[in-house]
């Protein structure tokens, strides 16, 4: 017989009372056990929604590439056509020829045109062959056509020919370094610089003339960047280009901005709403955890105070028999902790089976709608709604709210029960320990 036997016998003596107390405690502890993983699962889900919004925001920003006096024109990629299926994404980019270049050049108010050629290589390891005009006018008008992240060697210069800049990965694939030679479609080019893999990825940048020669596209370009003398003339130039060929995709800085702004505000609203939702979930969860802790401690405090009062004579007898204050303190604290631990075991059992239902009752529903940007065949960018959490997304279960009671949470729950049991029973146990035996013996 030891402290455990005495504690369990005492609980068993008042079965109904013990049962009611354990049920009340286990309700409070169930909250403590299920809320942290439930909040965490909602946090993870909402974070995914926020990430999709952040990604869309970045994507929308990246679509605004032109300033107010700039116009870009090209033929839309074939995979944006409704007649092309997703498996045809590697179809070659339609190119614009010299006659179109001449027609556009002759439009009044167009001050200069910077043609670039961006063609997917047909080599085993695909990379973009990117040709840029290496003349003074083009590089002055649009310096951004040159690589911005040179990590070794030098950048391209005006008048360069027969040279190339490779990204780090493509250079590795060619097993070439600065000064080395690569053969692309039978033409030897000297590597003069290496650029970081980010942000452009696999590409070989060279002069427009070299790129046109390699790809058998002499005089052709995939994109024209036009510079207009005045912002007020941009719309006129755009309509004149469109009239040259209705299939041309023409965009200008102002219309890009006009198209992006409503999407931006839609994204901001969604982002704000997701953040508010997350804050609300966390605040509600914390309040409920606080209530559960207070309830647990309060229940133990009151039941143990009642027990001390009810057992005053027993305390007096124990002290008369030579029990030390520490022994009495330990006895009552142990009883409080035992009650709490029994309740925690029940709470874990409830939590394991009831966490999905209970967490949806206890916490606000997380924001499950995010967005993904999509370009329509006509070049319009829209935000596609995406839903997480309600069902597996794209065959993966990782996007479903999946709060579960792990062994770690069970251990933490038991630890919390011990701690709260000790906290709740401390004052009653101290009261019992400090009871003077003579007074206790007189108590009826």
């Amino acid at each position: 017989m030891g402290i455990l036997t005495r504690a369990t016998r005492n609980l068993a003596r008042r079965k109904t009372r013990a049962l009611i107390v354990i049920i009340a405690l286990s309700l409070a502890l169930t909250l403590l056990i299920i809320l942290p993983p439930s909040i965490d699962a909602r946090q993870v889900l909402t974070q995914k929604v926020i990430n999709s919004i952040i990604f869309s925001d970045g994507w929308i920003n990246s679509t605004v590439t032109l300033s107010a006096t700039e116009i870009q024109c090209d033929y839309p990629p074939p995979y944006l056509s409704s007649t092309i299926s997703i498996s045809d994404v590697n179809l070659p980019q339609p190119l614009m020829n010299e006659s179109l270049y001449d027609k556009i050049s002759s439009i009044p108010d167009v001050t200069s045109i910077v043609p670039t050629l961006d063609v997917l290589s047909t080599a085993n390891r695909s990379y973009d062959i990117y040709g840029v005009p290496l003349d003074n006018v083009s590089l002055t008008e649009d310096p951004s056509i040159l690589p911005s992240n040179i990590t070794a060697g030098r950048n391209l210069r005006v008048g360069d020919s027969g040279v190339v800049i490779l990204d780090e990965e493509t250079a590795k694939n060619f097993s070439v370094s600065i000064g080395g030679t690569v053969s692309i479609s039978g033409r030897n080019l000297t590597v003069v610089g290496i650029e970081g893999f980010e942000p452009q990825g696999y590409q070989a940048i060279m002069s427009l003339t070299d790129a046109q020669a390699i790809t058998n596209a002499t005089g052709e370009a995939s994109s024209y960047l036009l510079f207009v003398d005045n912002m007020d003339n941009v719309n006129t130039v755009v309509s004149r280009i469109s009239s040259l060929d209705p299939n041309l995709q023409v965009s200008d800085g102002l219309s890009q901005l006009d198209a992006a702004q409503p999407l931006e505000s839609q994204i901001n609203e969604l982002s704000q709403s997701a953040q508010n939702n997350l804050n609300q979930i966390q605040a509600t969860g914390l309040v409920e955890i606080g209530i559960a802790i207070i309830a647990d401690v309060a229940i133990i405090l009151f039941i143990m105070l009642y027990s001390v009062r009810e057992r005053t004579k027993e305390i007096g007898t124990l002290k008369a028999m030579g029990a030390s204050n520490i022994t009495v303190l330990g006895q009552f604290m142990f009883e409080g902790v035992l009650l709490s631990v029994i309740a925690a075991v029940a709470a874990i059992a409830v939590g394991v089976f009831g966490v999905p239902t209970l967490s949806s009752l206890l916490l606000p529903t997380p924001q499950q709608v995010g967005v993904n940007p999509e370009t329509l065949p006509n070049g319009t960018v829209i935000l596609q709604r995406m839903t997480w959490g309600s069902k597996p997304f794209l065959g993966s279960g990782s996007n479903v709210i999946s709060a579960s009671i792990t062994p770690e949470i069970m251990l933490i729950g038991l630890g919390a029960a011990v701690l709260l049991g000790a906290l709740g029973s401390l004052y009653p146990a101290l009261k019992a320990a400090r009871t003077r035996p003579a007074e206790a013996m007189r108590y009826e």
């Binding site: 005495r6 002290k319 028999m321 030579g322 204050n325 003579a438």
Partner: protein
């Protein structure tokens, strides 16, 4: 002093009752020898129970000395008094004060557990003590399943558990019927005779007191009479008469 187990010198106990000072014990002197069976008698409020509580270290003396086995308990703090209660004193209460959720053996064991005795040692000794008080076979019974006389026997076994220097019995027969009263007093007398246990017993009952070796009369917190008794046959009861025949 070597055969004295208890020596009290000028013991005074004062406490406040509302605004009034109450002095249940006044300059009380007493010596008790090892192996003595002493009865303390006196009217209600004479200080009997207070004296017993002070000797039993569950109440503190206001003044004077209380030496148990030459240790002055009046000067000891609570952090040491519990050891005196545990090792030197055995209590028997009028209401038995058994722990209700423990059986007879466990109640006896509890006293030994508090003294730090090992489990195996405790169990055997508890059985032996229960046999000594005539409760063989009743070890597993909880207090509510024992008669009042049996409960008091368990309390006596519990008081003996740690071989105390003194057993303090506060009206041990106060709640018992005549038969049980006789049995309990006989048991205490036997323990005193056969084991040499020192017993100090508070009682109102002249017949019970007559079974002891010494009777002290208390009045207004002072011993007014201290006399050796001529041990009478137990209450001259029919059962005792039968035994005598």
């Amino acid at each position: 002093m070597s055969d004295l187990v208890l020596k009290i010198e000028n013991l005074t106990k004062t406490y406040k009752l509302g605004k009034r000072d109450v002095q249940p014990l006044t300059n009380l002197n007493l010596e008790v020898k090892k192996g003595e069976f002493t009865a303390i008698m006196g009217p209600s409020g004479s200080g009997k129970t207070t004296l017993l509580n002070v000797i039993g270290c569950i109440d503190k003396a206001s003044n004077g000395k209380v030496l148990i086995d030459n240790v002055d308990i009046a000067k000891l703090p609570e952090s040491k008094l519990y050891k005196i209660r545990r090792d030197k004193i055995g209590f028997i209460f009028q209401n038995f004060n058994l722990v209700p959720y423990l059986n007879a053996r466990e109640n006896v064991e509890l006293a030994m557990e508090l003294a730090g005795k090992f489990n195996g040692q405790r169990k055997q000794r508890a059985k032996d003590l229960l046999a000594t008080v005539g409760l063989s076979g009743r070890e597993q019974h909880r207090p509510q399943r024992l008669s009042q006389g049996e409960q008091q026997r368990v309390a006596i076994a519990r008081a003996l558990a740690n071989d105390p220097a003194i057993i303090l019995a506060d009206e041990p027969t106060g709640n018992l019927d005549a038969n049980n009263k006789r049995e309990i007093v006989k048991l205490l007398a036997d323990l005193n005779e056969k084991r040499g246990t020192t017993i100090i017993m508070v009682t109102h009952d002249e017949q019970v007191a007559a079974q002891t070796q010494r009777m002290l009369y208390l009045s207004d917190g002072k011993i007014i009479e201290d006399k050796q008794t001529q041990k009478e046959s137990l209450f001259n009861s029919p059962s005792k008469s039968k035994e005598a025949n």
